[in-house]
Point group: C3
Chain length 268, copies 3
């Protein structure tokens, strides 16, 4: 087992042992699924979005997940408040810029979160990630217009410019902090056919960040774990309804040892 | 295969080919299920409800779904803004007047949307649809007090009065623009036992409107497709938990050809 | 069959016969699951939270469910308005103080609801319930720090002080109005691994309150029913995804007679 696989084992063990509290300010569509994903893998999810509550909740959480999938002004304000509190306390933040590039509100909110908080990881598809740069491209809703390969060269540069770690998911996921690059080959074609699989991946990254302060290894091992769950689900189910059920089951049943054996991580 | 069945085939083919972006401003209860339904059938769902975002989102969407199931003033304002933008651009709008007739807020909001926007189709149960007329009846929550048959005679008249197409769902669905009437016999008794099956049917109508500018054929073929998925689910599952899973699977696996063979559409 | 079992049979029969309308003002995470639980068991769920709608909805409902899992100021105001209307009309109210003790906003809101409305039942885990007293303990998110046994002695005292019935769920559930104590042994270890199982239990209590004006027997028989559904699901499923599906199926298929035979209720 190489170093990345060993790290994957250690991270999943620590999540199951510590059951870290993950504070999610996320979109309405995926809240239920996100909570079920975090519970199934052994973490403790909490959702809280009120301006007069988020600082207190962020302060007791081990990681903060910010997801801009269904924005409105009070939620943006709450994300900023929680994000600043987490930044102040050194609590890791993971951002999911859902649909950034599709509307002005989403692009500007994603950029404002990046500027005003210290995001450990940003997880999105290639279009969303590219929209975070000034050379950004418009995205079509939450779909992907650019391939991971197209994005690979600019990803390192963008990670350095934004001073964060980028986790760009696609057929093969790419994680980079601007220096190191790790690729994750786990996954299944049915994953994008269920809503919130990307958002759930982001929350899984949050849980891994709660036990692994290195954003590159946390994000890469998280995506390997989530992708492996997709592979196991895909072996049981051939359509999205039963696939989603099997995915939750797999997140619950995959052991750290199995993750170590079946994760497909490669890095420089 | 008759004309309606041929249209059903063509519409589902075009959805799978074009993956139209469907903008939903819908209720909290059904957002996840609605998104999964649209993804399973091959469309691209997006949810966006902020007043400062909906015009932009509506402008890039191929259809707009307005659903009043969990209203509040900011959401009503956003529905109006998005609806006016869609009207201006000629983008088809489908309205789901959930619970109209049960409270003043719901009835008045449904009527205001009808007055201030150009709705291509209104999809509801008989009580909800009847509440849209001045002779409207109070509904009990989101349940149906009136049968489809009771409503049939007034439906044509009401469609003409409201200058829209009505899709009244029940044991047999009825679609009318005030002139033409199409009945859809597909469906399954477990459908009303899962929450959001009506709301999901409305979103499916939205996806069909994105590829078929004739509201009567779009709504009727959409309801045949959704009802057929219910039939296939009912053949696999005898209780609502597994039925919902099987329904999503069926929406993914039904081919245009199968829809053409098994749709039960009859019209004058 | 003893008196409690006979009451369980009668209550479930009446729910299936009367299909009571249950008005839920609940959190975003569990809305879909809660609605599906209520539909599967034969009740009629409705969700409504607008300040200008909740009085009217509460007035036509047979029970009101207040759940503070994802609060914000407008929702708190709506809960108060609906709660006061239900109190005025004698409609039973069940409160779920999700995460009370974890943040100031949650604790103060739970206490305000208790002070300003007439709650028939409060359903929570031991930490949440204990936080409602001035001697309350901080909770860790929505997790349980105190066992049901730890809480048993103080529960009767607290029920008297709050003038309500407490339903404290855990491995064995405890229901008390300060005088009578009923314990419910039904349940399954996978229940806390799916999000919203506690919230759904609260909604089930609401449905039982709609047909049984005695809060102790309503809450105890409701928890026995929901716990039995968990047992049946656990016999079919070994992981949370398929467990949740099987739970909804069980809520639909359990007959009043089966509940009478398999409920495990014991009281003084």
């Amino acid at each position: 087992m190489d170093n990345l696989a060993a790290k994957a084992v250690e991270n999943l063990e620590n999540i199951k042992k510590n059951k870290p509290l993950i504070h999610n300010i996320t979109n309405y569509v995926v809240m239920n699924f996100t909570a079920n994903v975090l519970l199934a893998m052994g973490a403790s999810p909490v959702m809280a979005h009120a301006g007069n509550e988020v600082s207190e909740m962020a302060a007791i959480a081990s990681a903060l997940v910010l997801n801009i999938g269904t924005l409105s002004d009070p939620w943006i304000a709450a994300m900023m408040t929680a994000g600043r509190k987490a930044t102040e306390l050194g609590t890791p933040i993971v951002l999911d810029p859902v649909g950034s590039g599709a509307t002005t509100l989403r692009t500007s909110t994603a950029r404002a979160i990046i500027e005003q908080t210290r995001t450990s990881v940003i997880r999105g598809n290639a279009s969303e990630i590219l929209s975070l740069s000034d050379a950004g491209a418009r995205t079509k809703g939450v779909d992907t217009l650019h391939s991971v390969d197209e994005a690979a060269e600019t990803a390192k540069e963008l990670a350095r410019a934004l001073n964060t770690t980028l986790a760009i998911t696609g057929a093969v996921d790419l994680v980079t902090d601007g220096v190191r690059v790790v690729r994750v080959a786990n996954g299944h074609p049915l994953m994008p056919v269920i809503t919130g699989s990307g958002c759930a991946a982001t929350a899984v990254v949050g849980a891994f960040l709660a036990v692994d302060k290195n954003p590159v290894t946390a994000a890469a091992t998280a995506l390997a774990f989530f992708g492996l769950a997709g592979e196991k689900a895909g072996a049981r189910a051939a359509a999205p309804g039963s696939f989603q059920v099997a995915l939750l089951d797999a997140l619950y049943t995959i052991t750290p040892e199995e993750l170590g054996q079946k994760c497909r991580l490669s890095g420089d």
